[in-house]
Amino acid sequence: MKICVLVKEVPDAAVEKRIDHSTGRMDRSGEKNLNPFDTHAIEAAMQIKEGGAVPVEEVVAVTMGPESAVRALHKAVSLGADRSVHLSDEALAGSDVVATGYALSKTLERESPDLVLLGQQSDDGECYTIGAVVAEYLGMPSLTQVIKIDVEEGKLRCERQAEYGYDTVSVQLPAVISVGDAINEPRYPSLKAIMGAKKKPLDALAASDAGVEASRVGLDGSMVECGDFTDPPQKEPGQIIEDEDTAETVEKVVAWLEERKLI
């Protein structure tokens, strides 16, 4: 079995995210990191590989993003991926969800994976939907939010929470599965793996290398236009208590509750 894991570089959670008003796009400067939700997808791939239920020949990390996104790939490789693929092209900038999914699907087609794994959401985009778009273009079934995967011959048995409780679904491969963050506890990379990550093969592709039609990506190839950024109605900021002396904190909380006739 060959597994591709989709990974993305996102601004560090500790850094404030904002819109660049001159371009209307997300400001992606500043500290960057591997999307934390994607570490669960890599870990899921590693557990399938190490689980031994089926032989896994290769785990390949795939990303689409600017030059700096190689760092996300290095991190993915340090967490266990065998090699990585980087799709990067000016023409891709400003792609919407459907265009991004299309470009990723072209990149994945070259790899012919049996299984594509991805994270439940990107920390900056928060679309939860790339998996469904990629699956549609690849003609594969897709499930999102999966928290348990059992591998059987040519099939996966997946569990996930949907609107009416937990569903168990049997999926024939090839398939696209996005994993929920409760699926596993990602490992930490060893120092040796971090040092070795840059030596693992990395395929750098331009849009044309991947067979991506330029007219279907980027701002011009996107079917949705986003703009008119506004601030939501401001809610009166709540009162904040820094807990230093807990007895005092509790006294304040109780007074607050009493004032509102809650106790």
């Binding site: 459907v98 937990y166 007895a247």
Partner: protein, 325 residues
């Protein structure tokens, strides 16, 4: 012509409340666009009766397409919706909040070459087209989406209110769908399994909700003690429910329950959007979190920055003492 097709989820003979909201919203928007709002229901069980489908007329659908295909998985619904939209020339597809709507909506947009926007809180008509508002960057900004051609709009949970339109039963049209090969690759083994006991959190005036910050399943004891002292119930986030720490019936949020108690007290909860949508209408929101940057403080009335292990037990004692006096 700018007609809207609304996906309506149903389960065990009942229509999904968020889907009904989407039908009402679709009817309002179609009225402004000078088109019609149609609904589509998909299922292969006996519970998907003609009456159930026709009842969507009460919420504003003038016509309901009924596709006989498996429901609960995205691909068969994508096949059905793509066919109905192509055969009938709908410009927009609309979904209420939920999980399946994300999967179906995104796949459908790819199939149709449409634009898609998720987590939409408001839709307007401008120049004869739909414009969807979506909060981004953890709700710190609102962005407007416009569509070059076809558009798929996926609502945020509870964004659209279900309103009875007074319309009679809708016409029901059965449609034959040929399933794509990927739609036959996935099969439901078990649907709607309830994990853990059935707890009523929707009736409680006081809710103490616990998240991953409790550290371990046993951490919920602290929440239970405080809830007992207040005379309320205990709720949870998906993160801890998925981890098996607490029953599914206590989960608040996008794929859980929507609550609006007099007091909602969060312990060790970050305040992710998918949790917030299920509790933001609570009368009083109190949060305990050790991270002063936690998003939950953005929408709390009282925020306590500190360690819940220290605060919860003392708070329970103090509430008991007050109530006893």
């Amino acid at each position: 012509m700018a007609d809207i097709l609304v996906y309506v989820l149903h389960y065990e003979g009942a229509l999904n409340k968020n889907s009904l909201g989407a039908v009402s919203e679709g009817a309002r928007l179609a009225g402004e666009l000078g088109g019609e709002a149609h609904a589509i229901v998909v299922g292969d069980g006996d519970d998907l009766t003609e009456e159930l489908a026709a009842s969507l007329g009460n919420w504003g659908a003038s016509k309901v397409f009924r596709a006989r295909a498996p429901e609960g998985l995205a691909q068969p619904v994508i096949d059905a919706m793509a066919k109905v939209m192509q055969d009938n020339g709908h410009t927009y597809a609309l979904f209420g909040g939920g999980l399946l709507g994300f999967e179906v909506g995104a796949g459908l947009a790819a199939r149709l070459g449409a634009g898609v926007t998720m987590e939409v809180t408001e839709v307007d008509v401008q120049d004869g087209k739909l414009v969807a508002a979506r909060p981004i960057l953890q709700d710190s900004k609102i962005s407007k989406s416009r569509y070059r051609d076809k558009g798929v709009i996926i609502g945020r949970l509870n964004a659209f209110e279900a309103r009875e339109s007074g319309g009679g039963p809708a016409t029901v049209e059965d449609v034959e769908v040929e399933l794509s090969s990927q739609a036959t690759q996935a099969t439901m083994v078990q649907r709607g399994e309830q994990r853990g006991e059935d707890v009523d959190i929707e009736g409680a005036d006081f809710l103490v909700a616990g998240g991953r910050g409790l550290g371990k399943p046993e951490g919920f004891q602290m929440c239970e003690e405080l809830a007992n002292a207040l005379g309320g119930a205990v709720a949870a986030t998906r993160a801890v429910v998925d981890a098996g720490w607490y029953p599914y019936s206590t989960q608040i949020g996008q794929t859980g329950k929507t609550v609006a108690p007099k007091l909602y007290l969060a312990a060790g909860i970050s305040g992710a959007i998918q949790h917030k949508v299920g509790m933001q209408n609570s009368e009083n929101i109190v949060a305990i979190n050790k991270d002063s940057n936690a998003p939950i403080f953005e929408f709390s009335d009282l925020g306590i920055v500190g360690d819940l292990n220290k605060i919860l037990p003392k708070l329970t004692e103090a509430v008991k003492a007050k109530k006893g006096s």
